[in-house]
């Protein structure tokens, strides 16, 4: 009698374990209630509005200049840091964590810099530091003259891979 009772308890314990396994497989969060959902959503919308407000206030459309960085190197270059100069003045120095570099390698684009620039000609220079082919230290600079008009300017620094040369390639692309 006693053993049967114990077996019953153990059987229950075992299948509570089974249920646990099933629940684990059920995936993503389930317990977030409606109240939290609404709160998250409202803060997200406020964050969006404030983000736009800040940008509108600090960087007017006619003076705004943004620099982005993207990576498509197929294992030819591992980015460690970037230094950005506009008209010979350093405006950004960025050191990448493994997670950030990984995110760029997967196809993410980082907004490296946003600022104001007067209309006219400017020179943009970027210095890339990282590991090149065969894990060798690799430094490269790329420079380009850009014409700032009365519209917002978007510049993309693209790190691409030249498979035939087995070398990374650095391009400045100006977005219209």
């Amino acid at each position: 009698m006693r053993i049967s009772t114990l077996l019953f308890i153990l059987f229950g314990l075992l299948f509570s374990e089974v249920i646990l396994a099933e629940d684990k497989a059920a995936g993503e969060t389930q317990g977030v209630n409606r109240e939290i959902e609404e709160l998250k959503n409202e803060v997200l919308e406020l964050n969006r509005d404030l983000f736009i407000l800040e940008e509108d206030l600090l960087f007017s459309a006619n003076t705004q200049m943004s620099v982005f960085i993207s990576v498509d190197v197929a294992g030819l270059f591992e980015l460690d840091s970037v230094s950005l100069k506009i008209d010979d003045k350093v405006v950004s120095n960025y050191l990448y964590t493994a997670r950030e570099a990984g995110s760029l390698n997967k196809g993410g684009i980082q907004r490296l810099y946003i600022g104001n620039l007067t209309s006219g000609e400017h020179e943009i220079t970027a210095f890339f530091i990282g590991k090149g082919p065969s894990n060798r230290d690799f430094k490269r600079a790329v420079s380009q003259e850009i014409e700032k008009t009365e519209n917002a300017k978007f510049v993309e620094l693209k790190i691409t891979g030249d498979i035939s040369k087995e070398q990374p390639d650095f391009i400045v692309k100006v977005w219209e």
Binding site: L6, A25, L39, K40, K106, E150
Partner: protein, 627 residues
């Protein structure tokens, strides 16, 4: 030992918590390095780092600013997936439903299949099983193999929850043999059938098949162990001790279900009247597994029970005493854990170490967790529910951090606005003052005169008008010579005059030829210069117009900015107060869940304690009576 066991739980939990995240990542993998839309790429940058809040904000900002120029379906698909991963189920449904309703969207089968799939997941999370099943079934054939396996797994789960055994089993046959998703589906189907007490032979066969797979990693090995354990207990329940022992012995001694296996093995041996072996199995369990494990507690009371059966009453009495002492220690320790859970230290432990960290590590992977938590609540702290609650708490904390940050930024924004105002007053009024405007107007008038002059020259082909300074001087000289020659009387005509006339005609012809020849080039150069001048003045006019526009619209814009800032400040304050309340509520929920899980454990120990005390008293009485 305990840590190797916990690691398996960690891996399993992390794998499952990361489920949706990986799904969405897969959605984008095909598009790697093809992203041409900066705003979409920026959102992906945050998404790949697990920063859902930032990634959603990026997309919402881009939507608001209409800067998502290309890949219009992919950003929406990403947004829906992000909402789902961030726990905003109704927003996620809205996005997917809207996407699937659009005509343009249906043109891409890959994106459409993924949307149906994610929508199905969303419905499942909301316990809308019918809708989940329908959406998952609408997926056609463009999912990647790995995702297709996962879809079939979810369909199997949905059908089991709807008690549709035939359809659930049908999914098993559609899955690939060596897929982890199939293994989970097989295990879940078998345990469902056992609990429902239906098709027992088929359930046993499923478990037997699973127990025989070639397990390559810890996750698969754990599933094999669980299959063997389930089979062994079923056999034990059916009084087939020998077969049960065979399956218990297949379970690893350092796996996730070792305690349960050793306990069951002991009972199987006991039933087989093999008392020494059963004691050995339980002693092994007590000596190798963590003391707080309920299986160990069960073994502590079972060992003296077998000694009693073997008529070794002294030993049984002694071991009952040891077990009682052990239970008392456990009860005292769990009391300390209750105090800890009620303290602020517990809340500090579930809070992110760095407030600005948008992706804090899972609680179960934090290294300095209170040892008592590991000892008594290991299953609880590795459970999906607890980790989801802590994650939710951390997300609310992050919302609070963001609101604090914006609140601190408001004075800066106001300062920026007042700077703009003062710039407007000082510079713009000067720039657009009477003198400047007069100068610009004069320049434009002069440019217009010049243009008219050039046009006239061109229409009259007046090449003399384009003479250079030296040439103009020659023209004047020749003109003077001509006048002088006209004035020479006929009778005064001599060879010198004739020569002079000849030279005059020669020079005149030469000059005319030169001016005529150079005229097209000079006219082109002049027109080029006037075009440049025209462009410059147009540019100047455009800037002037822009400045005038700014001058006119600035006060209105400033007022709008003012209103936006004031409005947002109010919103920040309101939301901060709600975040504060929600944090308190969430702390209470987490505490209550932890205490409830602990109470189950404590009650079980109390029960063992009472049973051991009763058994000891009973044995003591019987021994006394014999004496």
């Amino acid at each position: 030992m305990i840590f190797s066991k916990l690691n398996i739980f960690v891996r399993t939990t992390v794998l499952m918590l990361g489920c949706i995240i990986s799904l969405t990542v897969c959605a984008e993998e095909k598009n790697l390095h093809k992203v041409e839309d900066l705003a979409y790429g920026v959102s992906l940058y945050d998404f790949y780092q697990g920063k859902y809040f930032s990634s959603i904000t990026d997309l919402l900002v881009a939507q608001q600013k209409q800067s998502l120029l290309k890949d219009k379906n992919n950003p929406q698909l990403l947004l829906g997936g992000l909402y789902l991963s961030y726990g905003l189920y109704s927003k996620s449904s809205d996005v997917f439903e809207e996407l699937l309703a659009s005509d343009a969207f249906n043109a891409s089968p890959e994106v459409r299949d993924r949307a149906w799939y994610l929508l199905g997941k969303n419905y499942y999370e909301n316990e809308m099983l019918d809708e989940a099943g329908k959406s998952l079934l609408k997926v056609e054939d463009s999912l990647q193999k790995k995702d297709e396996e996962e879809r079939l797994y979810w369909l199997n789960t949905v059908f089991l929850k709807k008690h549709d055994i035939v359809s659930a089993v049908d999914m098993l046959y559609k899955m690939q043999n060596r897929s982890i998703w199939r293994y989970y589906a097989v295990f879940n189907t078998a345990t469902y059938l056992i609990r429902a007490e239906t098709y027992p032979d088929y359930a046993r066969q499923l478990l037997l098949d699973l127990s025989l797979i070639e397990a390559n990693d810890s996750e698969e090995k754990l599933l094999v162990d669980k299959a063997n354990l389930a089979l062994a207990y079923i056999l034990l329940k059916n009084n087939n001790q020998q077969e049960a022992i065979r399956h218990f012995l297949k379970i690893r001694t350092n796996g996730g279900v070792t305690s349960e296996a050793l306990l069951g093995l002991g009972w199987a041996q006991y039933r087989d009247k093999n008392y020494d072996d059963s004691i050995a199995s339980w002693m092994n369990l007590v000596s190798t597994q963590t003391k707080s494990d309920l299986m160990v507690q069960e073994a502590l009371i079972s060992i003296p029970y077998v000694f009693e059966k073997m008529q070794d009453n002294d030993q049984a009495l002694y071991l009952y005493g040891l077990a009682i002492e052990g239970y008392k220690v456990q009860i005292d320790e769990t009391k300390k854990l209750v105090d800890y859970i009620n303290s602020e230290q517990f809340i500090a432990q579930i809070s992110p170490a760095n407030m600005s960290d948008e992706v804090p590590p899972l609680f179960s992977s934090v290294k300095d967790v209170n040892p008592l938590m590991y000892r008594y609540l290991s299953k609880f702290i590795f459970s999906k529910e607890f980790n989801a609650s802590v994650q939710s708490y951390q997300q609310i904390k992050y919302l609070g951090y963001k609101l604090d940050r914006w609140q601190y930024s408001m004075p800066s924004l106001q300062m920026m606005l007042s700077e703009k105002r003062s710039t407007y007053k000082n510079k713009l009024t000067k720039t657009l003052g009477d003198d400047s405007l007069k100068q610009v107007k004069e320049l434009i008038a002069r440019k217009n005169t010049l243009l008219t002059k050039v046009n006239k020259i061109e229409s009259n082909e007046n090449f003399y008008a384009l003479a250079e300074q030296k040439e103009s001087e020659y023209i004047e000289v020749l003109s003077a010579v001509k006048t002088a020659l006209v004035d020479v009387p006929f009778e005064s005509e001599n060879s010198d005059v004739v020569e002079l006339r000849f030279k005059y005609r020669l020079m005149q012809g030469l000059l005319k030829w030169r001016l005529e020849t150079e005229y097209p080039v000079r006219l082109w150069q002049l027109k080029k210069a006037t075009k440049k001048l025209d462009d410059t003045t147009k540019n100047m006019q455009s800037r002037l117009a822009s400045l005038k526009h700014v001058f006119k619209s600035a006060p209105k814009e400033f007022a709008e900015f003012d209103a936006r800032i004031v409005n947002k400040e109010e919103q920040i304050n309101q939301l901060k107060s709600r975040v504060k309340n929600e944090l308190i509520k969430q702390q209470q929920r987490i505490r209550a869940a932890a205490l409830s899980a602990l109470e189950v454990h404590r009650n079980q120990i109390r029960l063992y304690h009472d049973r051991a005390s009763y058994a000891k008293a009973r044995l003591y009485d019987s021994m006394m009576m014999k004496e």
